[in-house]
């Protein structure tokens, strides 16, 4: 037997709302310090009436266990409704939005506090937002940690040394890099930048990184940059990867011959910096973005590597920034940074990051910041 047809009253039904129930509740907002890079990554601490001391000391309110952090590094407190940071005579200094502070300094909502390699962000959030953010943060932190775990540790000594610094503009990013010995000799170095930011770019980034880590490109000699880029171009067609593509720089250093063979795909040059930092040589070949043009051939080139020189490979988020006046800066404005002297207690990528931060407008950078330095001793 068919079910009876439903019948509806044609008149609009009047619904009486219980006005004793508040439509919205005034939410309580608080100030939070969130570690977004370095030791203590992902920690979120609410700032109340008591100041928070940040340092290596176990008694600190926010403990950052890193050798570049002083025992009592800096203090953050609420003062007249404003969050203020004060350096506590730390060895490496405290930076707010890229500028070293020498007295109580306001830390506005969204601003960045840097303590050695550690980056802490000030966020003003409601309790509900914090709860939602914490749930999302846990997932994103797991994704981020996985991505970071795929990056090789720096090499602090030996004939080829490496240093790096990476800071995604979102919780996770599309930049990645790698380096390491190849079978049969040769030291591989690469960096790539997936279009866009966030979780979509990060997923593709992890796929590419795993392919390169496992040397899992068919019929490809990893000593030949042109072959590697051509194989990646065939494997990662943008039509098959949610319209995403990536730029890349790839090189192989021959220790015996002290030469570097390299190729680039839609990526700006890497730079070879002389030991006295007076000479900066661009290393780039012509090649399109990976994943866009079908069956494209990539060129490669080579150069000698003088002892004491260093190779700088980085993403465009390093130089495509707006300065404090809102002026868009580019590669030309950035390059003189490479000639500047090193800073005691800071790696070269950290020095570069501090320099960029000091130039850029306050707040997080617009794009992922990835910087790899290879030193040839």
């Amino acid at each position: 037997m068919p079910p009876p047809e439903e019948t509806f009253d044609d008149r609009t039904r009047i619904i009486r709302r219980d006005d004793t129930v508040p439509v919205s509740v005034q939410e309580e907002f608080g100030h939070y310090l969130v570690v977004i890079s370095g030791a203590g990554l992902g920690r979120r601490l609410r700032l109340d009436s008591e100041p928070i001391v940040i340092g290596r000391d176990a008694q600190s309110g926010l403990v950052l266990s890193s050798p570049d952090v002083s025992r009592r590094h800096c203090r953050v407190e609420l003062s007249k409704g404003e969050v203020v940071a004060t350096d506590l005579n730390s060895t490496n200094g405290t930076y707010v939005d890229g500028k070293r502070i020498d007295g109580p300094t306001p830390l506005p909502d969204g601003s960045i506090l840097e303590i050695g390699q550690q980056v802490v962000k000030h966020e003003r959030r409601s309790a509900r937002e914090v709860q939602e953010a914490q749930e999302l943060d846990r997932d994103l932190e797991a994704a981020r940690n996985y991505g970071l775990s795929l990056l090789p540790p720096p090499i602090p000594s030996g004939p080829v040394q490496t240093e790096w610094f990476i800071l995604p503009s979102a919780k996770v990013g599309g930049d990645a890099f790698g380096f390491g010995e190849l079978d049969g000799g040769g030291f591989m170095i690469f960096l790539f930048d997936v279009s866009g930011h966030g979780i979509g770019a990060a997923l593709l980034s992890v796929s590419i990184l795993n392919v390169l880590r496992q040397r899992a490109l068919p019929a490809t000699d990893f000593h030949r940059p042109s072959q590697v880029l051509a194989s990646l171009n065939a494997m990662f067609r943008m039509e098959d990867h949610n319209e995403m593509f990536f730029t890349m720089w790839y090189g192989v250093y021959d220790k015996a011959k002290q030469t570097l063979v390299y190729a680039s795909a839609g990526h700006h040059p890497a730079y070879l910096v002389s030991s006295d930092r007076k000479t900066v040589m661009p290393l780039k070949t012509e090649g399109p973005i990976v994943g866009v043009l079908e069956k494209h051939r990539f060129d490669e080139a080579s150069t000698g590597i003088p002892k004491g020189s260093s190779l700088h490979v980085f993403s465009d988020g390093v130089f495509e920034i707006e300065d404090k006046t809102g002026t868009q800066l580019g590669l030309h404005e950035f390059l003189p940074t490479l000639n500047q002297p090193g800073v005691e207690g800071r790696s070269e990528p950290q020095r570069i990051y501090q320099s960029v931060r000091a130039t850029a407008r306050p707040g997080p950078l617009d794009d992922d910041f990835s910087y790899l330095v290879v030193k040839y001793q």
Binding site: D193, V194, S195, G196, H197, M238, E239, E243, M244, F245, T247, G266, H267, H268, E286, G287, P288, I289, V292, L293, D316, E320, Q328, G330, L331, D366, D367
Partner: protein
């Protein structure tokens, strides 16, 4: 980010103004794509007032150019500022999308 679209017969003229970064692309992508792709219109894009382009802007151009090509239509970019033009050179966008100096040349290219 601003976008103006005018369509005359089978030619769409698109004028963009502002920063083609992720927020900028979010503001205009839907209108840009829906104005030219469904009907496969030849399209010329005025970039004279675009001051910055990031990877998401490149992705937008590449996706639209490929979609139009599948329909035997063509997109031509014209009058990019020097900083934007440098980005196009770095990524070799010219191999996929013609980039010319002015609108008259762009219209000629689009009609070829």
């Amino acid at each position: 980010m601003d976008i103006q679209v005018s369509v005359h017969e089978n030619l769409a003229r698109v004028k963009l103004k502002g920063r083609l970064d992720t927020p900028g692309v979010d503001q205009i992508a839907s209108k840009f794509t829906s104005s030219v792709v469904p009907d496969g219109k030849n399209t010329v894009v005025d970039l004279s007032e675009v001051v910055f382009i990031a990877s998401m802007g490149l992705r937008l151009f590449i996706s639209i150019a490929k979609a139009l090509k599948r329909q035997n239509a063509r997109m031509v970019l014209f009058a990019p500022q020097s900083q934007v033009s440098e980005v196009f050179d770095t990524v070799m966008l010219r191999d996929l999308v013609p980039i010319v100096a002015d609108e008259a040349e762009a219209v000629r290219f689009a009609a070829v």
